[in-house]
Subunit: 241 residues, 2 copies
Amino acid sequence: MLVIGDEILSGRTRDENICEVADVCTQGGIDLREVRIVADVEDDIIAAVNALRARYTYVFTTGGIGPTHDDITADAIAKAFDVELPYNDEARAMIEKRYGDKALSPSSLRMARIPLGASLITNSVSAAPGFCMENVFVMAGVPIIMRAMLANIAPTLKGGRVVAARTIKVGVGESTIAKGLGAIQNQYPEVKIGSYPLMGKKPVYTEVVLRSSMLEMLDEATQKVQTLVDETHLIHGVIIN
Amino acid sequence: MLVIGDEILSGRTRDENICEVADVCTQGGIDLREVRIVADVEDDIIAAVNALRARYTYVFTTGGIGPTHDDITADAIAKAFDVELPYNDEARAMIEKRYGDKALSPSSLRMARIPLGASLITNSVSAAPGFCMENVFVMAGVPIIMRAMLANIAPTLKGGRVVAARTIKVGVGESTIAKGLGAIQNQYPEVKIGSYPLMGKKPVYTEVVLRSSMLEMLDEATQKVQTLVDETHLIHGVIIN
């Protein structure tokens, strides 16, 4: 995923799109491997898009496809793919329809510029479309629009086996169970076991998350962690709710 | 900035550290140029650290320095810099002091492994330190610990001129002011003008944000945008609160 926008990097706006894309990927059996956030700088966008599209099956971008001068994502994508960026009749018709009788300004028309060869991603919120260029899905940065676009493309994505997750709460700090967890991880390489301390809360506790697409392995490993945790709680006398 | 952690990419945990680092950078006159989020995969961490530390003045990492098997950031950093990862006496003393009379487990001791040549970043929350290796600052992923570490290193960072920001609310969609804004942007290249539509809210409005370290330019450009907005509101009869 590539998040494009000065406002995220300056701290002015807190990103809301990464966890949306992450959720949709996880639910669809797609392993989100990397996210990059870059500024509204054409060369930076081009470099990131080219690095990511060469490396991964899909790339999702958010941000920079509006009508103002700082919206340069379509330009950058066209340059990354070395294609023209003409006005797209279909995109223009979508925007005109939304504007009704009002004349389209050159600024609104800017949103109808789509790289040659791309297909459109419709959105019901603002009408201005995103687009898909080969394996790169270009979406809006405004979360309500991004979600509408993501909902439209999600059914078209090919995922692998869906990864299931199990969470076990542990009423002690993670150091106490670290050795046992490591042993279980070694025994079940197909299950990814993560340990997440919840600090700043009393009583201290830890969440252990097991993830795998192989359900039988997952349940076996989960049972072993549960046994480890039960024994640890017996020793440390901890009860958590 | 490099965020390390499966839990962010799976959507299980929503990152809280990016906007903290972004805020501290902005306040210190440091231009945050790029963020990457990678999984708990050693090769991915090494590749990202090496790419970022070659390109930027500072790199801030978060995540993966706890006591469990999935905490591999220290190992990856040592490999990225091609140095040893010995137990650090000072780090060990910090952790032992917090544990008091209790014997240190091998898992807790894991957190005292610090790449050779790094200096420690103390934290008052969990006692286990982060570290700074050349231009790379390695911090915890747990937000409350990360903030304590960030507060300790912030005064040591060298920033440029602090970038000031001005925000103007506009009671119309951004297409309406796009042309005028673009003209002002062309006139003031030293001022970065961003336009952010607030969708899903009625009435529709837009925030224009101007950012520059050159205050006189910034105020001039802001005045021009304000005049543009006043005229636009006169034409469109919009009053916003």
